[in-house]
């Protein structure tokens, strides 16, 4: 109870700073996710074309995933220095896994009969991909994106390690001083952010489902 009151106290006294941190946090995780989608989906498409490439990409992404946070940040810092750039790059690299994994699984899982039907209709490879495979795999891809988004908002606390701010700055201040109120004051906005962003993505997913239903109805 004291903890809650104390946390409310932190909110009251430093809400402006917290708001700024939340903005930075959202900006960094959103940029990272957009980059990860832009890179991850094409990679996964490539993986469906070639078994060996699939193995190679998967292993590389797994390996990137296992690089410890500080080491990855130190490596990226060589090129991008302190600040948002380094934080966003590292976050994007860490968010690739669920996006690639789900896009790949989703595309592979598309009913082969439908693809054959498409081929029979004279569709080109690209048409098959954009008109049959991706729309059908969309719910699975979006699920991957939603997992990646949540993970990325959670992981964005590391941005503070390279001076990029975000809610991690408040959380780390709390952690290094064993001050749970500060930790909560940083963690609660992060959790709210996750809920909010996930709601928005849920809305988008409903639209995608709508398209899927039409696709199903049309087939």
């Amino acid at each position: 109870m004291d903890l809650l009151i104390g946390t409310l106290g932190v909110f009251a006294s430093s809400w402006k700073q917290l708001l700024a941190f939340t903005g930075e946090h959202l900006f960094m995780s959103a940029s990272a996710i957009l980059i990860a989608i832009a890179a991850g989906v094409p990679l996964a498409v490539w993986m469906t074309r070639n078994q060996r490439v699939a193995f190679l990409i998967q292993t590389t992404i797994n390996a990137i995933q296992t690089i410890p946070t500080i080491s990855l940040l130190l490596i990226v810092m060589i090129f991008l220095g302190l600040g948002y750039g380094t934080a966003i790059t590292a976050l994007a690299l860490y968010s690739l896994l669920p996006i690639v994994q789900n896009t790949y699984a989703g595309l592979e899982n598309v009913n082969k009969n439908l693809i054959e039907a498409g081929t029979g209709m004279g569709m080109t490879k690209l048409q098959l991909l954009t008109k049959v495979k991706i729309p059908l795999a969309m719910p699975i891809i979006l699920t991957g994106i939603r997992v990646a988004t949540v993970v990325s908002i959670g992981a964005a606390t590391m941005a503070t390690f390279v001076g990029a701010g975000g809610l991690g700055e408040m959380i780390m201040r709390g952690i290094v001083t064993t001050d749970d109120q500060k930790v909560l004051a940083g963690a609660i906005p992060a959790a709210l952010l996750v809920i909010l962003v996930d709601l928005i993505l849920g809305k988008i997913e409903k639209r995608a489902n709508f398209r899927l239903q039409t696709a199903k109805a049309q087939k």
């Binding site: 998967q58 292993t59 797994n62 390996a63 995933q65 296992t66 690089i67 410890p68 500080i70 080491s71 896994l97 669920p98 994994q101 789900n102 790949y104 699984a105 989703g106 592979e108 899982n109 009913n111 082969k112 009969n113 054959e116 719910p139 699975i140 699920t143 991957g144 939603r146 997992v147 949540v150 993970v151 908002i153 959670g154 606390t157 991690g168 959380i171 709390g174 952690i175 064993t178 749970d180 930790v183 940083g186 963690a187 992060a190 959790a191 952010l193 996750v194 809920i195 996930d198 899927l212 199903k216």
Partner: protein
């Protein structure tokens, strides 16, 4: 390079011990996560009403910073491997829960209707239609969770649970690159092995019918 090999030969017993700790901590966490997340994901497809709350809760778990989560656990679970396993278990839930839920929900409704028409019970439909059709999506979530858990398991070292994180954090504190690289490489190796294993499990789980279809 020679320094690195020197480090490995000097400390191989330590590295092996940490590798073992890392393996069992991740394995128990992810296996526990699987046992909870998959049935829960299936349940959520049956009771759409609670799904927002359950997934929301699991989402929030994911945003709790690991040091804070571990700090909360000390009064309950003490220090060592146990709190680390519990924390990793909680973190592993999200990808498996989400993929199970989506995978089952996206099974073609026509197939389910056909099965129902054939007089299958809902359990039979789940076991013979929905799970086999969704298995590769579910296993995709399992693979994501496994890789994430192995990479996140470095957190065990911050609560005295050992594992390869010990090499990473100690290496960082001493700026000992050999230590850090050993920690990172060993984690990557574990992840690769786990990925190969889970890939085979995924293949074994894929129903014959679907496999033959693929061969066409």
């Amino acid at each position: 390079m020679s320094e690195f090999i020197q480090f490995l030969t000097d400390r191989y017993d330590l590295v092996l011990k940490l590798l073992w700790e890392h393996s069992y901590i991740s394995l128990i966490a992810v296996a526990g996560g699987f046992l909870i997340a998959v049935p829960l994901g299936i349940l959520l497809t049956r009771t759409e009403k609670i799904n927002t709350y359950v997934i929301g809760f699991v989402n929030i778990l994911q945003t709790i910073p690991s040091l804070a989560l571990l700090g909360l656990m000390i009064p309950l679970l003490g220090i060592g491997a146990v709190p680390a396993i519990v924390a990793l278990f909680l973190y592993s839930l999200l990808p498996m829960l989400r993929n199970t839920y989506t995978g089952i929900r996206e099974v073609d409704p026509a197939l389910i209707e056909a099965a129902r028409g054939m007089g299958m019970t809902s359990f039979q439909i789940l076991w013979k239609i929905e799970l086999p059709m969704a298995i590769s999506i579910i296993m995709g979530g399992f693979r994501t969770a496994t890789i994430y858990t192995i990479s996140w398991a470095t957190l065990a070292a911050v609560i005295g649970g050992g594992g390869l994180g010990y090499l990473v954090f100690t290496g960082l504190g001493l700026a000992n690159d050999n230590m850090m690289i050993t920690g990172a490489l060993a984690t990557a190796m574990l992840a690769t092995i786990a990925d190969l294993l889970t890939r085979n499990i995924q293949k074994m789980c894929t129903p014959k019918g679907l496999k033959i279809k693929r061969a066409n």
